[in-house]
Each structure stands twice: as structure tokens, then as C-alpha cells.
């Protein structure tokens, strides 16, 4: 594991290395170098299994964090690569040529976060939602409760309590 991290540290200047467990390490890579890093890891380091790819919305910093988790089935190691892209006009290089299923992940991210991956197959087709007419729902500034109350004819009579206060009242 250490050799691999050293190798990619030298080549791609990854930072923020966190050894979460013995066999999984999180690293941060610059946006431009990410796809090159992934390609290198797949081709040369044996990280052949693509586990997942997803995004995290850090709205306070105006950034999206994209996480790619790669797995080396032989050595039984995982490396998670974080990369940060700007929330405005979020675009990222596509990785669909490396693994077939990546285009599905990218389709989902396009729909749910609004991150564009130019060149990815069928990326503009709707994937999960149908006729969605609001900001992408997984973004932090999309308020699901307000949207649901506005749209879906809530049945009157539902009471919502703050759990901690409700418990305090009942316990005393």
C-alpha cells in the first residue's frame, strides 16, 4: 500500500492522504490530473475494479467533491481519489472509456448534481427522474421538504416534533 501511495504521490502530487483502514486510503488529486491518475492506476498498478463514483456537495466552499473508489482485486487494496471542482458550471472530464459502467454513474451525477461530463454516452438522457423541472435534487440548496409540501398534497394532521425536545418532555 505504501509503495503505491508513494508512487502516485511522486507522479501526480496527491495530497491529504488519509489511511482510513489498513486497506483503504483516501487521497486528493487535482482536477486536471485525476483522469490520468485513474488511468495510471488501472493500467499499471492493477486497480482493475471500479467500485463507485459519486459526488459530495460542499456548498459552504462552493465546491463539489468527486470521489472515485478503485479496488485492486489481487492485492485487496482500495484507493479513493477525491477531486474538487467548482460548483458553478460544474464539468469534469469523462472516464467512460476506462470502464463500461462509468457512463451510468456519470448519467446519474449529471441528473442529480448537475455535473456535466462532456462526451459521456447518453449523459443528457434522463436517468432516474422524469420531467424534473427544478434544480438538481441532490444539491444541498434544494429543499426536499418544502418541495414535497408544495407539490404532493400532504395529508393534513401530520405532527412533526424535534426528537430531542420531544423526548425531554416525555421523559420528565
Amino acid at each position: 500500500m505504501e509503495n503505491i501511495i508513494k508512487d502516485i504521490q511522486n507522479r501526480f502530487e496527491v495530497s491529504d492522504i488519509v489511511n482510513q483502514r489498513d486497506n483503504i486510503t483516501f487521497v486528493t488529486c487535482e482536477k486536471e490530473k485525476t483522469i490520468a491518475l485513474i488511468t495510471h492506476m488501472k493500467k499499471n498498478l492493477g486497480f482493475k475494479h471500479f467500485v463507485l463514483m459519486t459526488a459530495v456537495d460542499w456548498i459552504e466552499d462552493g465546491l463539489f467533491q468527486l470521489t472515485y473508489i478503485l479496488n485492486n482485486p489481487k492485492k485487496k487494496l482500495d484507493v479513493a481519489i477525491r477531486t474538487f471542482i467548482s460548483r458553478e458550471n460544474a464539468t469534469m472530464e469523462t472516464a467512460h472509456k476506462l470502464w463500461k459502467q462509468v457512463s451510468t454513474y456519470q448519467r446519474e451525477l449529471k441528473e442529480m448534481f448537475g455535473i456535466d461530463f462532456p462526451g459521456s454516452p447518453r449523459v443528457n438522457e434522463s436517468f432516474i427522474l422524469e420531467g424534473w423541472n427544478d434544480i438538481p435534487p441532490y444539491r444541498r440548496d434544494f429543499q426536499t421538504k418544502e418541495y414535497a409540501e408544495k407539490t404532493y398534497f400532504p395529508r393534513p394532521g401530520r405532527k412533526t416534533n424535534d426528537p430531542s425536545e420531544y423526548m425531554k418532555k416525555n421523559m420528565s
Binding site: V18, Q20, R21, N23, I24, F26, K48, H49, F50, V51, L52, T54, V56, D57, Q65, T67, I69, P73, K76, D78, A80, W99, K100, Q101, S103, T104, Y105, S126, F127, I128, L129, E130, P137, Y138, R140, F142, T144, K145, P163, S164, M167
Partner: protein, 398 residues
């Protein structure tokens, strides 16, 4: 495609149809009258769960397939962002209805890992037991379900009946029939009831008998063999290319099992061999599942024997209503009956999770792989191929 041996085994070589254009794409002209667009699902009894396939067929042969999902989207990942950590537990179980316990375990495990809680040994044993029971009830549905797609319904009836018995045991242990919410952060909710071992053994004996019957009914059945051997072939080179995991990869000869490769809970104390087959067709995949069923029964027996009688079942946790998990991120995985099942969890140090993302095996199996496998398949084989991949739509769209 195989060469024709004699007139009785004649099979048309249709690999050249439809013709390809010069740029390598298929020449599918809907107005030519040679092609029919066929929608299967969501309202179709052969489809697993609620999803749909858009097939373009020419004669009996599928020339293009597209999977459509999203009929079950509830936005879990969004909903959990506005719930407390403890409130996420009853929510996350509902992500996949076929075997909900993996969701509980993975969320609990990520929360424990991020906040540095060690759980007591007894709780680990009980978690292992619950996860294996979940696999057992899922396999009891899917092993005969493969024959069910070919209208051999008897096996399904027996299997679902036995699954009900397993669910009864679940009910006894956890109080819930389908959704258990038994695994909580720090441990589990309760010890085994009195006499549970005996009742478990009774059910396992019935399942043993069922395995024998299903062996005769399915795996020695000439028509079943005819319909499944050589159908739905996955090339070994596709395993990494398409991200295939679990029994589907094991049927192609890849001995990958999270339980063996990345032992979690008590799996390194249990004695088991990773099952595998070589042929990588539907028959091989159902064989792997059947072996897995036998193995699961064996594992449950081992767990029952090795498990201590008493012990702590819960490590102390902070008040869950004010529980803040330190900033960090992690990825934990486990082996569900469909393959690698993982949670990617990000915490920002607040009361609610920042992001929880589920990596379900069906995500890759049911979309990119299925779309590829259905090309040149016979229309009659579409559902057996789909069921043999054991797709579960709710974990695709969450």
C-alpha cells in the same frame, strides 16, 4: 455462434443481423418494418421488481436493449441528509427490500468506524448471524426463481414457503418480518430468545430437504438444462470491464468474495470455501447460488455452534439524539447475496450525515451489463438472463 451440426439442431446464424453501418453502428431503421420496439415493464410479470426494458427486436431476436430505471426513486440519499444519524437507521433499511439487513449493518459500521466505537464480541456474532439469515431468505427466493422464469413454479412455491419460515425466525429475534432494524450503532438490539437454536435447526433441516428436491427438480431437469446452458454467457474479460461482482463473477471463475477477501465481523473465524463455477452461463450462475445456499446453511450452523451464550450486546454510545460524528469519510463493504454491497459515508461533524452513497451490485449488473447481454438474445430468454443477474431495482435508484 455455434456451427450447425445437423438439421435437427439447426440454428440460424444471425450474428450478422442487423447490418452494420460503415461507422460500426447498427443499422436500425424503425420505418423499414423489420424491427419492432417492445417495452417490457414496469407492468410485466417477468421483470424483477419495478423497472423496464426497451427492446428493439427483429424476429425473435433482440438487437438493441435499453434499461429504464427510476420507478422506485425515493431520494434516500437526500432524505438521510436531513435526518439525525439515528433516524437514518429505519430509513436506510428500506433501500433494498430483498435483504434489508446489509443496509443496517453498513450504516452502523460506518458510523462506528468514523466515531471510533468498538462493538462487543457477542454483538458481532449476532450481526453475522442476522446477515447470513438475510442471505438465506434471499437465496430461497432466487434459487428456485430462476426456474420460475421458465414457468416451473413449483420450486418457487416451496422456496417462498421456507422463506416465510426464516422470516418467522427473524420475527422472533427482531420483532420485524421484512424490515428488522435490529442492528443499531454500537451493537444489536437483543439476545437470542430461548430455544431459538432448536427452532433454527428445525427450519434448516427443512431447507436441507428442499435443496435435495430442488437439485432433482431444476439441476437434473433436461429442459431446464436445455434452456439455460450456454445462454446468457458472460465473458471473463467483462468482469472487470463492467464491474461484475458476487455470484455473477464467481460463476465466471473469479473467486471474489468480500467475506474472504476483506473479512468483516466474524467471518475469519468461520470455515468456508468460496464457491465458483467456470461456465459463466445461466446454469452456472444458478449452480453458484445453490452452492451458496448450502454454504449459508452450513455457516449458520457454525455460527450457532461457535457463538457464546451470553455477553454484552451493545457498546456505550453517546446520546443518539445529540450524537455528532467526527468529520471524515469512509467506504465499508459487505457481501450481499448479489455481490459487493458498500456504503460510502461522509460526515462533516454535524448531527446529520453529509452524504451517504450506496454501491449496489445491481447498479452495474442491471444497466450496462444487461444492455450488453441482451443483444442477440432470444426474446424468450430475456427474463431468465435478467433474473440470473439477480437485479434488484430499488438499490439502483435508491
Amino acid at each position: 455462434m455455434k456451427k450447425q451440426k445437423n438439421i435437427f439442431n439447426w440454428q440460424a446464424d444471425r450474428s450478422k443481423y442487423p447490418e452494420k453501418k460503415k461507422n460500426g453502428k447498427l443499422d436500425i431503421d424503425m420505418s423499414s418494418g423489420k424491427f419492432v420496439k417492445l417495452w417490457q415493464g414496469p407492468n410485466h410479470p417477468g421483470i424483477t421488481g419495478n423497472m423496464s426494458l426497451e427492446l428493439t427486436i427483429s424476429g425473435d431476436e433482440v438487437v438493441e436493449a435499453k434499461t429504464h430505471v427510476g420507478y422506485l426513486h425515493r431520494g434516500f440519499e437526500k432524505l438521510m441528509e436531513r435526518r439525525l444519524w439515528i433516524q437514518c437507521f429505519p430509513t436506510c433499511v428500506r433501500m433494498c427490500v430483498a435483504e434489508p439487513d446489509y443496509n443496517e449493518y453498513l450504516l452502523a459500521k460506518s458510523a462506528e468506524e468514523l466515531s471510533g466505537i468498538e462493538i462487543p464480541e457477542m454483538a458481532e456474532w449476532l450481526r453475522t448471524l442476522v446477515l447470513e439469515m438475510a442471505r438465506l431468505q434471499s437465496l430461497l427466493r432466487t434459487v428456485p426463481g430462476q426456474a420460475g422464469t421458465l414457468s416451473l413454479g413449483v420450486g418457487v412455491q416451496w422456496g417462498v414457503y421456507l422463506r416465510d419460515l426464516v422470516l418467522d425466525l427473524f420475527e422472533e429475534l427482531t420483532g420485524g418480518r421484512v424490515y428488522h432494524m435490529y442492528i443499531i450503532p454500537g451493537g444489536v438490539r437483543g439476545l437470542l430468545p430461548d430455544g431459538f437454536k432448536k427452532r433454527m435447526e428445525e427450519v434448516l433441516k427443512k431447507i436441507d430437504e428442499f435443496v435435495k428436491n430442488i437439485e432433482n427438480l431444476m439441476f437434473n431437469n433436461i429442459v431446464f438444462k436445455k434452456r439455460t446452458i450456454g445462454v446468457g454467457y458472460i465473458k471473463p474479460s467483462w468482469i472487470d470491464k463492467y464491474g461484475i461482482v458476487g455470484p455473477n463473477a464467481r460463476a465466471a471463475g473469479f473467486k471474489r468474495d468480500v467475506r474472504k477477501d476483506y473479512p468483516y465481523l466474524k467471518y475469519n473465524e468461520l470455515d468456508f470455501e468460496v464457491t465458483s463455477e467456470k461456465d459463466s452461463d445461466i446454469f452456472a450462475r444458478s449452480m453458484v447460488r445453490k452452492k451458496e445456499l448450502i454454504m449459508t446453511i452450513d455457516l449458520i450452523r457454525q455460527i450457532m455452534a461457535k457463538m457464546p451464550k451470553k455477553g454484552d450486546i451493545k457498546a456505550p454510545t453517546p446520546n443518539v439524539l445529540h450524537w455528532k460524528i467526527p468529520k471524515g469519510e469512509t467506504y465499508v463493504r459487505s457481501e450481499s447475496s448479489r455481490g459487493e454491497y458498500g456504503f460510502y459515508t461522509v460526515s462533516d461533524g454535524s448531527k446529520t450525515p453529509r452524504r451517504i452513497n450506496l454501491r449496489g451490485p445491481s447498479y452495474t449488473h442491471a444497466i450496462s451489463l444487461l444492455e450488453r447481454m441482451l443483444v442477440n438474445a432470444n426474446i424468450a430468454d430475456v427474463h431468465s438472463i435478467m433474473v440470473s443477474l439477480q437485479t434488484c431495482p430499488p438499490e439502483i435508484e435508491r
